[in-house]
């Protein structure tokens, strides 16, 4: 088990390095010079030249890359082109807001997805199943921003139950977390439904019933644990979707957070900031997937033995 984690960590580091490299080159081949953008259309060639030099943009791309990587390995992610402050500070300040949004929406997605999925599998082809499938279809096909606006209209404007915008209080978290979580809950519930149905068809379920176990025990202890294996994989994928969803959600609900920062940074071609933000996203994704893989080994003994 320990070896497994070590090996996974090594792989993760490679993934981080690779994604940093990829992002660096993609951002740099995009059209538009950051210095030009910062100075506006009235800049003189000298000021532009000076700025380019101070930002290091006059060097060749490869040299820039090595400079960046040297900094990166020392833990220095550079300074923002715009604010001239270390990007890492800027992002860390935003991290709690985004993490709480991500955490809350994953929780909503998992709980809602599991409950709905199991319900619809157990009542396969009955009224409940149809309703659940309808809901999940809706939630999957609805764009996040639209769902956000809808939620605001209903719960803030119309019913006036919950605040629409801002961050800080728990009440302010509810709507955006729902908005982000519901979409993932939809796809999760479909997967849970399918895997529960699949497990219900397994021969060992017949054995369990033949042993006289009450149906509740068969479902909650045996079927669910077996159905969890594909579900947990899906949670890893959902976490990735959440990151992109966070950008939209934060905008719609005027929340602070990394998503918002990234959008602005991209607009302004604030390359160091974008790069650092993507790095954080990559690390988040890797951590979630590492957790997923570790939890596999607790759910499924066959996987455990392979490690």
């Amino acid at each position: 088990m320990f070896m497994f984690v070590i090996r996974r960590l090594l792989v993760s580091i490679m993934v981080v390095l690779a994604s940093v490299t990829l992002v660096f080159f993609i951002l740099n081949v995009l059209p538009g010079n950051p210095a030009e953008m910062m100075l506006g259309p009235n800049a003189t060639p000298e000021t532009l030249q000076n700025l380019n030099e101070s930002l290091g943009l006059n060097k060749s791309l490869l040299v820039q890359y090595f400079d960046y990587m040297r900094g990166f390995l020392k833990g220095d992610l550079g300074e923002s082109f715009i604010t001239k402050k270390p990007v890492i500070d800027q992002l860390l300040a935003q991290l709690p807001a985004t993490l709480s949004l991500a955490g809350a929406s994953i929780a909503i997605a998992v709980i809602l997805g599991m409950v709905l999925g199991v319900l619809s599998a157990v009542y396969q082809n009955k009224a409940i199943d149809y309703v659940v499938r309808m809901i999940s279809l809706f939630s999957i096909s609805m764009p996040t921003f639209w769902l956000g606006i809808l939620l605001i209209l209903i719960f803030s404007v119309h019913l006036q139950w919950l605040p629409a915008i801002g961050n800080g209080s728990l009440r302010q978290l509810i709507l955006p977390a729902c908005c982000l979580g519901i979409a993932s809950a939809g796809s999760l519930s479909r997967l849970v439904r399918n895997s529960v149905l699949e497990v219900l068809n397994e021969q060992f379920v017949v054995t369990l019933r033949a042993k006289g176990l009450p149906e509740k025990l068969v479902l909650c202890k045996h079927v669910l644990r077996n159905a969890l294996i594909p579900t947990v994989t899906m949670i890893g994928i959902v976490a990735g979707e959440l990151l992109s969803g966070a950008v939209v959600t934060e905008t719609v609900f005027s929340r602070q957070g990394i998503g918002r920062v990234v959008v602005e940074a991209i607009m302004q071609k604030d390359i160091p900031l974008v790069q650092a933000a993507i790095l954080i996203a990559a690390i988040f994704y890797i951590i979630v997937n590492l957790l997923v893989d570790i939890s596999y080994t607790y759910i499924d003994p066959r996987i455990r033995s392979k490690h």
Partner: protein, 674 residues
């Protein structure tokens, strides 16, 4: 005496898309306490549904009891509520299944799965239940029960898993045990052990067993009484001796005749019942067996016969009398002829050996499994270890052995689906394993294959004609009309209707699909076919049809076969010579009659002794071969069989016996050949 279980006129419907389909119709069944009743019939006859209905497990599959009653010690099970019946399940009636792997929950330990049922039905505390579970595992013959308690199903061998299943079933000492094909997925020596265990348990707990099987040999071995089912109905019921002596129903008689036994005449074609079992949605009128029955009259086509009692047994047929007056076929005297033939055959064989078509020389196939962070601990699986033999032109060479002995791997090496670790395969004198690129294709063309699962080895989205024609297209670039013409020829040869050219494989039955893969194999007129468990998944009567077909084709096309199988009776029928494998080694080779008459290696002897005989008067009295095949990752020293051999000595443990000639055409690898 009141029977323990009484099923009276039980009918069950299944609902599919709102339509009711009747799956069993007025089934009657009685089991006395301490009695073993075998239920036999082909797949689709309703055996399993009947057993699931007794447990009321059909409730979960949209099945419904529409008529009749089930009484267990006088209590009707049909009217019980869900809660009431679930209290009885596992306590009064327990069940074991065919595939012990899929029948156990893969993510819980064996211990948990036994403790669970004890907690449910007894007042035991958890620690007490664990103690009890260990005792149970010990009782069913699982070594080191404490260790096994903590293991997961995938860590156990098939035989051990089935024992664990039996332990679960025994936990609450039920009155009735339902065993649904419990040994079908197991090797014959393990099967013998499990059958023995079930008999012991019956005696010890005075338990009744309803044993479902398609194997008449097993029924003869273990049953007190036999119930025969066909297309959802019970068609005959009798005590085991009576049934084997004189069947009352033409279907039973057909089943008995299609059994391939160890002393049936090999030169004759196998007996087959025409046609196949009807699907439940298109049942024939009148007697459901009439389209396949040789005794059918007009009455049979219009009126359905009831199950009637006659001298203490029951049968559902209008023409029992006719069948009874038919002269009985006698097979006994042919045995002497067979032995004479063996001598002749072995001489003939030594002649043949001068012209081998295929020569396997010292083939080894090792797989490596890696462990550790940097894959430093390499372990080798000795799947095939130094195997040599020859196959003559026009000969059928049978390869037998338990699963994991390496017989299939060897077949795959010959087909070049697996790369040999070392050794040579000469086909018509040329080494095919190291052939230059140009010749490689031609040997592929001459060596074809037929596998066990026809559905797994053909593309389900292709038309039958394209499946059969694919090799023609690959090797001869035939297309369009030219291909079609050749394919139609081949289809006729294997007994497929050429009109089926454009249909998809799923529209065919298992037997028909196996014909498709045979057609595909012979399309290029190969010289040699590797048939790996080609008939193992088929019902007995279909099995015979396919074996007959393969033999006909052999005569017509001058084919040679390597026939790999674990079903020894069939191998005996089709093979000229047989090789026996154990743990990667070829331990004995002999002509078929010689091998069956005078097995020399102790493993071969045990293997032959483990085959259940379809004759209740010749039940086994000795103990079956003990233990299981060790892991091929670390095979025992010396003779690999010494861990299980009753004749083993110190010499066997130290020195590996070489495969040497002990008679004409007879080789064995044993220090003390019998």
């Amino acid at each position: 005496m009141k029977p323990l279980l009484e099923v009276k006129e039980l009918s069950v419907d299944f609902y599919k898309h709102g339509n009711a389909i009747n799956v069993i119709d007025k089934v009657n069944l009685r089991i006395n306490s301490g009695e073993i009743v075998c239920m036999i019939g082909e797949s689709g006859s309703g055996k399993t549904i009947t057993s699931l209905s007794i447990m009321r497990l059909i409730d979960f599959n949209s099945g419904k009891i529409t008529h009749g009653d089930i009484e267990l010690s006088g209590v009707s099970l049909v009217t019980l509520t869900k809660q009431e019946i679930s209290v009885l399940r596992g306590k009064k009636i327990a069940m074991i299944f065919q595939e012990p792997m899929s029948a156990l929950d893969p993510v819980f330990t064996i211990g948990d799965q036994i403790v669970e049922v004890l907690i449910r039905h007894t007042n035991l505390t958890k620690p007490a239940a664990r103690e009890q579970a260990i005792t149970l595992l010990q009782r069913v013959g699982i070594p080191e029960p404490e260790v096994r308690m903590k293991q997961y199903p995938y860590e156990l061998s098939g035989g051990m898993r089935q024992r664990a299943m039996i332990a679960i079933a025994l936990a609450c000492e039920p009155e009735l045990l339902i065993a649904d094909e419990p040994t079908t997925a197991l090797d014959v020596t393990i099967q013998a052990q499990i059958l023995n265990l079930l008999k012991e348990i019956r005696d010890e707990f005075n338990m009744s067993i309803l044993f479902i099987t398609h194997d008449l040999g097993i029924a003869a071995e273990i049953a007190d009484r036999i119930v025969v089912m066909y297309a959802g109905k019970v068609i005959e019921q009798a005590a085991v001796h009576e049934l084997f002596e004189q069947p009352f129903h033409p279907y039973t008689s057909g089943l008995l005749q299609s059994v391939v036994t160890m002393d049936s005449d090999r030169t004759e074609k196998l007996f087959t019942i025409n046609g196949s079992i009807p699907s439940l949605s298109e049942l024939p009128t009148g007697c459901r067996f009439h389209p396949r029955c040789a005794y059918a009259t007009d009455r049979c086509r219009s009126e359905e016969p009831e199950l009637v009692s006659q001298s203490g047994r029951e049968a559902a047929c209008w023409n029992i009398e006719k069948l009874l007056h038919e002269p009985q076929q006698q097979v006994e005297p042919k045995r002497i002829i067979a032995a004479d033939r063996a001598i002749a055959a072995s001489f003939e064989h030594e002649q043949k050996q001068r012209l081998p078509l295929l020569e396997v020389r010292a083939i080894k196939k090792y797989f490596s499994i890696e462990q550790g962070l940097f894959k430093q601990n390499k372990k080798l699986i000795h799947a095939v270890d130094d195997v040599s033999f020859q196959i003559g032109k026009g000969e059928t060479f049978g390869l037998v052995g338990e699963s994991g002995c390496g017989k299939s791997t060897l077949g795959r090496v010959l087909l070049q689906l697996e790369q040999a670790t070392s050794g040579q395969v000469l086909f018509e004198g040329k080494d095919v394993l190291r052939a230059p690129a140009g010749e490689w294709k031609s040997s592929r063309r001459d060596i074809q294959f037929v596998f066990q699962d026809p559905y797994g080895s053909i593309n389900p989205r292709w038309k039958v004609g394209d499946i059969i024609g694919e090799p023609l297209w690959v090797h001869e670039s035939l297309k369009g009309q030219a291909k079609r013409q050749k394919v139609v020829e081949v289809m006729e040869l294997v007994g497929l209707n050429p009109a089926a050219y454009d249909r998809l494989p799923h529209e065919f039955s298992g037997g028909q699909r196996q014909r498709i893969s045979i057609a595909r194999a012979i399309a290029l007129k190969p010289k040699f076919i590797v048939a790996d468990e080609a008939v193992s998944a088929l019902d007995v009567s279909v099995q015979s049809q396919i074996v007959n077909l393969m033999q006909e084709l052999q005569g017509q096309l001058d084919l040679s076969y390597l026939f790999i199988a674990h079903g020894l009776n069939i191998v005996r029928h089709i093979s000229d010579r047989i090789g026996v494998m154990y743990l990667g080694k070829l331990v004995e080779i002999a002509t078929t009659d010689e091998l069956f008459a005078h097995p020399a290696h102790h493993y071969t002897k045990a293997l032959l002794a483990a085959i259940p005989l379809p004759d209740p008067t010749r039940r086994k009295t000795f103990l079956p071969l003990q233990g299981e095949m060790p892991s091929p990752a670390n095979p025992p020293t010396g003779c690999r069989f010494h861990t299980r051999c009753t004749a083993a000595t110190d010499l066997c443990k130290k020195i590996e016996p070489a495969l040497q000639r002990i008679g004409p055409g007879h080789l064995a690898a044993c220090h003390y050949p019998a």
